[in-house]
């Protein structure tokens, strides 16, 4: 996903003189082409993320369109007050791109895991939280973020993730993308769990369960119309995210569901990381196993929920 981001942001910079890219001392060589086409518009802000976001706010207030890029955990946790005040309170149009989100950098330990980022950022008024499902979804998401009237956080994975969408989808902030329709079950995937959702849905289909899949690329604002549709029509709705079960898509869906009338009858199952730190040495597949984020476990728990 990050290569697609670098490619797309470079294309945009060729058309927009106001574009500036700020990086927190990461992406070695990744932005060489951006620097070529947009000299003087790339800033390596060093290992000083709070300053980077404040600088971006000052640039946005002066008519530029800044994009800040670094590892998701460093861009969010230690910078939350700059994000809240300098971007949220001031309503500055800065795009934050957190790379290696979720468990992408699981081998580096909990310092590099970002499984609470969306829960934190979802609390900030006016800030959109996006997590595109693959690189084909990321490109239009970036354009949608540029048109958004406030700050946007885009959470992306690393490189080499499976591509799910066959063509570039029509991404809109606040709107989910339906990949396949289902009658009994819907899996709502956030960000890089989209390929997992498709796998789990395929397994359920092979057991004779009609299972739909949607990419909830926009966590905030949330596509409540889609939630209304799937909770009315299906028996089980599952949320899937490389994020804590607290604060992210599962929580946002539960919050919405609690306020719905009785016809929203489907039962909710949430998949995400447990409310605990991961101390073991892992790689992304084993970290996902720890969290129960495998297609077999997802399909299994959903099937169980259907039976009971």
């Amino acid at each position: 996903m990050r290569n697609a981001f670098a490619d797309e942001i470079t294309k945009i910079a060729q058309q927009r003189e106001d574009m500036v890219l700020l990086s927190g001392d990461i992406g070695n060589r990744l932005f060489d082409k951006f620097k070529d086409v947009s000299p003087g518009r790339f800033f390596n802000c060093g290992v000083a993320e709070a300053n980077m976001v404040g600088v971006a706010a000052g640039m946005a207030a002066s008519g530029l369109q800044p994009v800040c890029y670094t590892i998701a955990s460093f861009l969010t946790y230690r910078v939350i007050e700059q994000i809240r005040l300098d971007l949220g309170y001031h309503h500055q149009r800065v795009i934050l791109v957190g790379t290696g989100a979720g468990l992408s950098y699981s081998s580096l330990g909990s310092t590099h895991h970002s499984v609470e980022d969306m829960g934190m950022l979802r609390l900030i008024p006016g800030l959109a939280v996006l997590a595109p499902g693959d690189e084909k979804e990321l490109r239009p998401a970036l354009h949608a973020a540029l048109d958004y009237p406030g700050p946007v956080y885009i959470r992306i994975g690393k490189k080499g993730e499976p591509v799910v969408h066959e063509t570039e989808p029509e991404f809109a902030i606040g709107k989910a993308l339906r990949l396949r329709e289902g009658k009994e079950v819907w899996i709502l995937a956030l960000g890089n769990t989209l390929p997992l959702a498709v796998e789990a849905a395929t397994q359920l289909e092979s057991r004779g369960v009609s299972c739909g899949v949607a990419s909830m690329g926009s966590l905030k604002p949330l596509d409540t119309k889609l939630l209304g549709d799937v909770f009315t029509s299906a028996k089980v709705v599952a949320t899937l995210e490389e994020h804590s079960v607290l604060g992210g898509l599962g929580t946002a869906t539960a919050e919405w569901l609690a306020a719905q009338p009785a016809q929203a009858k489907a039962r909710l199952v949430t998949f995400g990381t447990p409310d605990e730190f991961l101390h073991a040495t892992t790689h992304q597949p084993s970290a996902r196993e720890w969290a129960g984020l495998t297609s077999a476990r997802v399909a299994g728990r959903i099937a169980e929920k259907l039976r009971n």
Binding site: S62, L64, Q82, D86
Partner: protein
């Protein structure tokens, strides 16, 4: 304007700040009084600003990063004609434009909502870099408190500005030697503060922050063409400056003057 007149303006502004604190029952009086002379030096003759065009793209930017001294900024902006005295009359009342600490776009001339320390310098650097990119020649000035220099983000910003060779930004530190609950030197070992800024790659001067000649002489260093270093002015000030029973007494970080104290202060300032 000559220094005698500037001193008179500063005395009047001090009287108004104290009256504002008395009337609205809002604190941070000592912190407001310590930076009045810095604000007067900036707003009377240094900053290239036009109160009638408060949003013009090439205006000089000033950020009061020590947002708790907002009353001093409000009084200054009002006197310079950025907004009507009615806004000040309503200060800190429910629904008023001017709160104890500034909200975004609360009044013409207020560039940034501050109040949480350690944000203003990064934002100012962003504005200064935008000037470089957009080929404007405005200067950006950020006023910090000494307590604010406890914040790590100030020093992140300082290193970054030096790396960017950002000669168009000026920092003023209102070095009144106190923070909320203690001597700033004892809480965080700030001294030698000028040397710290030098070590972070800034051209740095120490001035008497109540001497208009010294403040101005340091500020104009920032106007020299082709500067490649940011400028830091460490202004030695006195908390509560101008009123003998408030000077260097940290109780006035939070205390509100009563009617007798207001009258005594105004008398001493010669603005009865």
């Amino acid at each position: 304007m000559d220094h005698t007149k500037l001193k008179h303006v500063a005395a009047e502004l001090r009287g108004e700040v104290i009256e504002l604190s008395h009337r609205a029952k809002t604190p941070h009086l000592g912190s407001s009084l310590s930076c009045i002379d810095l604000l007067v030096a900036l707003y009377w003759g240094f900053l290239r600003i036009d109160p009638k065009k408060a949003d013009s793209a090439d205006r000089d930017r000033f950020i009061l990063s020590k947002g708790h001294a907002a009353p001093a900024l409000y009084i200054t902006l009002c006197r310079r004609g950025f907004f009507s005295p009615q806004l000040l009359a309503d200060y800190a009342k429910d629904g008023a434009a001017l709160a104890e600490q500034p909200a975004p776009h609360c009044a013409p001339g207020v560039e940034w909502a501050t109040g949480s320390l350690g944000h203003g310098l990064s934002v100012g650097i962003g504005m200064a870099l935008a000037a470089r990119i957009q080929k404007h020649d405005y200067r950006t000035v950020v006023l910090l408190s000494d307590g604010e220099c406890n914040e790590g983000s100030v020093w992140e910003a300082a290193m970054f500005a030096a790396a960017q060779k950002l000669g168009s930004i000026t920092v003023l530190v209102d070095y009144n030697k106190w923070q909320a609950t203690g001597r700033s030197e004892e809480v965080m070992a700030l001294a030698p503060l000028r040397d710290k800024w030098e070590a972070f790659g800034w051209e740095s001067y120490e001035v008497d922050g109540h001497d208009f000649g010294q403040i101005r002489a340091a500020l104009v260093r920032g106007e020299l063409p082709d500067r490649t270093k940011p400028l830091a002015i460490v202004a030695h000030t006195i908390k509560g400056r101008g009123v003998s029973f408030m000077e260097d007494d940290n109780n006035w970080h939070y205390r509100i003057p009563n009617a007798e104290e207001l009258a005594a202060a105004r008398k001493e300032l010669g603005v009865e």
